[in-house]
Each structure stands twice: as structure tokens, then as C-alpha cells.
């Protein structure tokens, strides 16, 4: 298919239609968010004449989206920080150090990768309740760290194992301890992987609803996604405000996607073509 020929357009035109179908739902939602209730009932499709931010303000303030937004930020930031710290520590040890049980730990990590949350959520909720961690920030953060740590370790270990041993050996001869090598070599050299994995972990935590519903049941602790689900019932007759709430939850993801698309794709596809 070098150069557009007639036959390539037979494929390209449906693909363009699909691309439109992929973008349109979000465009529609953004457009609805800018309309007044009255305009929305009269005509759902026409472009909103002017940018009317009243609905967004309503969703942000009286619907409580600001509160949920901050909750999500706190939980995501803490979870990602711990995931990257624990994940890179274990990834470094598994890829460059030899110790008793390393093979078993790596296999345990792989096995945990294939245990979905739904399978362990009942006993996990019990354990968390016994520990008094239900409906607390540390409880939800711990649940996220437990959920996404095997994946984080796996990706960090495979990235670190691509760092040549000669560099590590040289640092050892210069008198670094194992911790020194981790801090001065592995953390800086692994920063592209930390970025990719960190962004993907952040998206996972930001987008989650099941774990948050289970661990943070009370209204003032809602994360943004749980908040969006509650908005539906609250504003069932005020669709533009509901659409504004959806928009508030979607825009940060859109921005992250536009900036870090390549890193996200790298992290998603790591491990798919090797081995």
C-alpha cells in the first residue's frame, strides 16, 4: 500500500468513521456540559452557542466534585509513590542481586499478577476491617499498592535487567554499598521506566471504582470515580450538570494521555513481545 490507491481508501474510510465514533462520545459530553438544561432538552446535538461554565461550577462546588477530586489526588499520589518505591526496590533485588528465595519470590510475584481483585476481595475486605483500615486513606492506599505492586515489580525488574552489569560492578569497585548502587545508579537510570510505570499505575488508581467502593464507603471519602457514580442519581434530571461532572473526571486523563501517550503504550506493551 505505498501511496493512496483506490483500494486503500476502502479501508481508510471506515477507519476514519471508527475514529470519529471513538472521539464523538466525549465531544458530545463536553458539548452537553456547556449547554443550559433548557437548551439540552430542546436540542441535544447542536453545538452549544457559547461556553457556559455554570454547570461545571455547579458540579465542582455544590455536587462535591472538588472534594472527591482532592480525595482522588491524595490517594493516587500516595499509592503511586509507594508503588514506585517498593516496586523499584524489589525489581532491583530480583534483577541484579542473588539471594536465597529470589526465584520463589519472582514466581510468587508472577502468580499474584494473575489473581484478580474480585477473587480476593471478600477475605481482603475482612482483613482490612479487622485491622480497622476500612474507610481510611491508608486502607485504600494499601489496597491499591497490593493490587498493582506485582505488575510494578515485574516491569521494573525487566527494565533493570537491561542495565549492564559492568556499570553496577564499576560502582561497586568505587566503594558503593548495595543501597548506594540502588540510589546512585538504578533510580536515575531507571527513570524512564519509573515514569512509564508510574503513569500507568496512576491511571489504574484514578480510574478504579470497585476497590474504592469496597474500601471507602462513606460519602465524604468518595474518590472521583465513586463520586461520578453518585452524581447520576443526584442529578438525574439535570443532565448538563451530570455531564460536567463526567467531564471533570475525564479531563485530567485526557491531559495525561496527550502528554504521555508514548510512555503509557510502552508500559502497556512491555512483556507482550518478549520471552
Amino acid at each position: 500500500m505505498r501511496g493512496p490507491r483506490a483500494s486503500t481508501w476502502i479501508v481508510a474510510v471506515p477507519m476514519m468513521a471508527l475514529a470519529l465514533a471513538t472521539i464523538y462520545p466525549l465531544v458530545f459530553t463536553a458539548n452537553v456540559a456547556m449547554k443550559t438544561r433548557h437548551d439540552y432538552i430542546l436540542d441535544r446535538f447542536s453545538p452549544a452557542g457559547s461556553l457556559n461554565w455554570d454547570n461545571v461550577v455547579t458540579a465542582w462546588t455544590s455536587a462535591g466534585m472538588a472534594r472527591y477530586f482532592v480525595n482522588s489526588l491524595i490517594v493516587v499520589a500516595a499509592s503511586v509513590a509507594l508503588l514506585l518505591l517498593f516496586g523499584s526496590m524489589a525489581g532491583f533485588a530480583l534483577s541484579h542481586l542473588r539471594f536465597r528465595g529470589s526465584r520463589a519470590l519472582f514466581l510468587g510475584c508472577l502468580a499474584a499478577l494473575f489473581i484478580p481483585f474480585q477473587v480476593i476481595m471478600v477475605p481482603l475486605a475482612r482483613t482490612m476491617a479487622d485491622a480497622g483500615l476500612i474507610d481510611t486513606y491508608p486502607g485504600l492506599v494499601l489496597a491499591y499498592v497490593a493490587q498493582f505492586l506485582p505488575f510494578t515489580i515485574y516491569l521494573m525488574a525487566s527494565y533493570y535487567s537491561g542495565i549492564p552489569r559492568e556499570i553496577v560492578d564499576a560502582a561497586r569497585i568505587d566503594g558503593n554499598t548495595v543501597y548506594g548502587v540502588f540510589r546512585r545508579i538504578m533510580l536515575p537510570m531507571g527513570s524512564p521506566a519509573l515514569l512509564s510505570v508510574g503513569i500507568l499505575d496512576a491511571l489504574f488508581c484514578w480510574n478504579d471504582v470497585l476497590i474504592a467502593l469496597l474500601m471507602m464507603p462513606s460519602a465524604q471519602h468518595r474518590t472521583l470515580m465513586v463520586g461520578v457514580t453518585s452524581l447520576r442519581g443526584q442529578y438525574s434530571s439535570d443532565i448538563p450538570t451530570f455531564a460536567s461532572g463526567v467531564l471533570i473526571a475525564a479531563v485530567p486523563v485526557l491531559v495525561v494521555y496527550l502528554v504521555f501517550q508514548r510512555q503509557i503504550a510502552d508500559a502497556v506493551t512491555a512483556g507482550s513481545t518478549k520471552g
Binding site: A12, R103, M121, L155, P192, T273, G275
Partner: protein, 327 residues
């Protein structure tokens, strides 16, 4: 990897590599630490690996692997009045006789039937993008975007679009078709939810396929083209054999995605209704655990879900292995 060397997906010096290789060829630091030149570092360095893995070990053992055993054990105890008492297989008998769980299992069967479609669509699209259909760069970015959106956001948006008096129905009424109750008709709702799930996630599989294509030896494609192969022949004789590992990966991850990441969509779009027609095991577990206060029954459903995933994963790998050998 049958064809080509793996290419770096990262600009920085290092690349994602197979972890097993790192494990096998690791330098032995303990031996070095025992040389008399560094006697004071000896103890610290020997402990260092354990210090580094300690948090991960505690979390994975305590909050992932242990709960799995706990849950299986829990599924053989009772709920309510019989809390904590051994009840044998009662929960499993309750499960299989519960019509809602039967629907959930039937829906899993439906997902398994739709799985080839959910793999073939992104596979074909990736092939066309790989063959540089006009606009291929834009297509990749656009198609991948919904995959990073939360099911809650996707479900909320489609709630608006698919409402009975919503935009999609007024559109199809405009071209003379009757309105469809996308989320309210028990015969239609499950297909709607699965359709939205595929809409939201096909970009993920597409990106994985494209990563596979980047490892494909371009001379193979050029040779096939020089021999006058059609696109269909190229897909069948060149691309599918060369990408067998990627295809296997996509099959397994897509299936896992269908069984474990549709909770948000179901929760937002249908709450399992109408008439329980959109239940999946994961939603059933959540309802039994939370609303119905039957955690032991939910644990039994969890165990069944785990077994389903195990069996489907093994069957797929076996099938694809066999297909790969015949080529």
C-alpha cells in the same frame, strides 16, 4: 520469538527485557563481599537484598496470596447464623441453583464466544495501520484513547447516548427505525454492555499488536509483496505465524479484561439488570458480599471465577500452541 530481534521500545539505553534472563545470568555479589578488602560491608550487603524485597514480600504474601487461600477456605463455611461453621459444598450448591448466577455463567459463555471478535478487530486494524493506510498515525492515537478512560466515565457517557429518549435513538428514528431499549431490554442489554466494553478497550489490544508488528522482519513483508501476495494472503501466511506470541498475549489479556474489568460498566450502566440479564461473576461477587451480606457465598463465586479464568487461560494457550505447531 520466531522472527526478528526484539527492538527497543525505549529511547534510553536500557530496555524491557525478559526478567528470566536477568535472573539466570546475575553476578554473584555475595562472593565479592567476602573478600577481605571489604570486611565491614559484609553483613550489610548480605542483608541488603532482603531489606529491599521486604515491603514487597510482606504486601504480596499478606494481601494477595494469603487472601486467596483464605477465600477458598472461607467458601466452605456458612453465612449468617452458620457464620464460621464448616458447611461443605453448600455454598457451591446454592450458587449453581441460583438463577442469577446461572445467567452470570451464561454471560461468561457469551464473552468467550465474542472473544475472537474482540481480538480480530484490533488485529485487523493494527494490520492496516502497519501497512500505512492513509492517516495511520492519527488512527493509533485516537483508537488508544478510550482505553485509558475509566469504565465509570465510559459507562456514564454511554448512559447519556443510549438512554431510551437519548440521542442514539433519536438518530435511528430519524432514519426510520424504531427506538431500541439498549439498556432496558433483557435480550439487548448484555450485548450493549459488551459492545461498549469492546469500544472502550480495543485500543489496548491494538497497541499491543502494533508493538508486535515492530518486531516483525520488514523483509518478510516486502518479499511477500514482491511475490504479489494479497493482503489476505499476507495476513494468513506472514503476519499470523510471525505474531503468534503477540496474538496469544492479546487473547489471554482480552479474556482477563472481559472477566475482571467490566464491573464499572455494569455498575454504572445496568446494575446487573434488567432482570439480572447483565450479571457477570464479578458483579455477583460484589452484590453478595455487599448488599446481600453473604460473604461466604461470594467467596464460593470468587473461587469459581478463579477456576474459570484458569481453565480458559490454559485452554487458549494449549489451542494456540497446537495451531502454532501446525504452521
Amino acid at each position: 520469538m520466531p522472527v526478528g530481534r526484539s527492538t527497543s521500545v525505549h529511547s534510553a539505553g536500557a530496555e524491557w527485557t525478559d526478567e528470566a534472563r536477568g535472573l539466570a545470568s546475575r553476578r554473584r555479589w555475595e562472593a565479592r563481599a567476602e573478600t577481605p578488602r571489604a570486611p565491614r560491608r559484609f553483613r550489610g550487603d548480605r542483608l541488603a537484598p532482603y531489606v529491599l524485597v521486604a515491603p514487597a514480600l510482606l504486601i504480596i504474601l499478606g494481601l494477595r496470596l494469603w487472601p486467596l487461600l483464605l477465600g477458598v477456605n472461607f467458601s466452605f463455611t456458612g453465612d449468617g447464623d452458620r457464620d464460621g461453621m464448616p458447611v461443605g459444598l453448600d455454598n457451591y450448591a446454592d450458587l449453581l441453583s441460583d438463577p442469577v448466577f446461572q445467567i452470570a455463567l451464561r454471560n461468561v459463555g457469551l464473552l468467550a464466544l465474542l472473544l475472537p471478535v474482540a481480538v480480530a478487530v484490533p488485529g485487523l486494524l493494527a494490520t492496516f495501520i502497519f501497512l500505512r493506510v492513509p492517516g495511520h498515525r492519527v488512527f493509533r492515537s485516537v483508537y488508544f484513547f478510550p482505553a485509558v478512560l475509566s469504565p465509570v466515565i465510559v459507562g456514564s457517557i454511554f448512559n447519556l447516548l443510549l438512554a431510551f429518549d437519548g440521542p442514539l435513538n433519536s438518530l435511528i428514528e430519524g432514519i426510520g427505525l424504531g427506538p431500541v431499549d439498549w439498556l432496558g431490554d433483557p435480550k439487548v442489554a448484555m450485548f450493549t454492555v459488551v459492545g461498549v466494553h469492546i469500544w472502550a478497550t480495543f485500543g489496548m489490544a491494538l497497541v499491543v499488536f502494533l508493538a508486535g508488528f515492530s518486531t516483525l522482519d520488514p523483509t518478510l513483508v516486502d518479499a511477500a509483496r514482491a511475490d504479489g501476495a494479497t493482503v489476505a494472503q499476507m495476513i494468513w501466511h506472514v503476519i499470523i505465524p510471525a505474531l503468534s506470541r503477540t496474538i496469544q498475549f492479546v487473547f489471554v489479556t482480552t479474556m482477563i479484561g472481559m472477566l475482571t474489568s467490566m464491573f464499572g460498566l455494569i455498575y454504572v450502566m445496568t446494575s446487573g439488570g434488567p432482570g439480572g440479564s447483565t450479571y457477570l461473576p464479578e458483579y455477583y461477587i460484589w452484590v453478595q458480599q455487599g448488599q446481600m451480606n453473604r460473604p461466604a457465598l461470594a467467596s464460593a463465586a470468587s473461587t469459581v471465577l478463579f477456576l474459570i479464568m484458569l481453565v480458559m487461560g490454559l485452554v487458549q494457550i494449549a489451542l494456540l500452541r497446537r495451531a502454532g505447531r501446525e504452521d
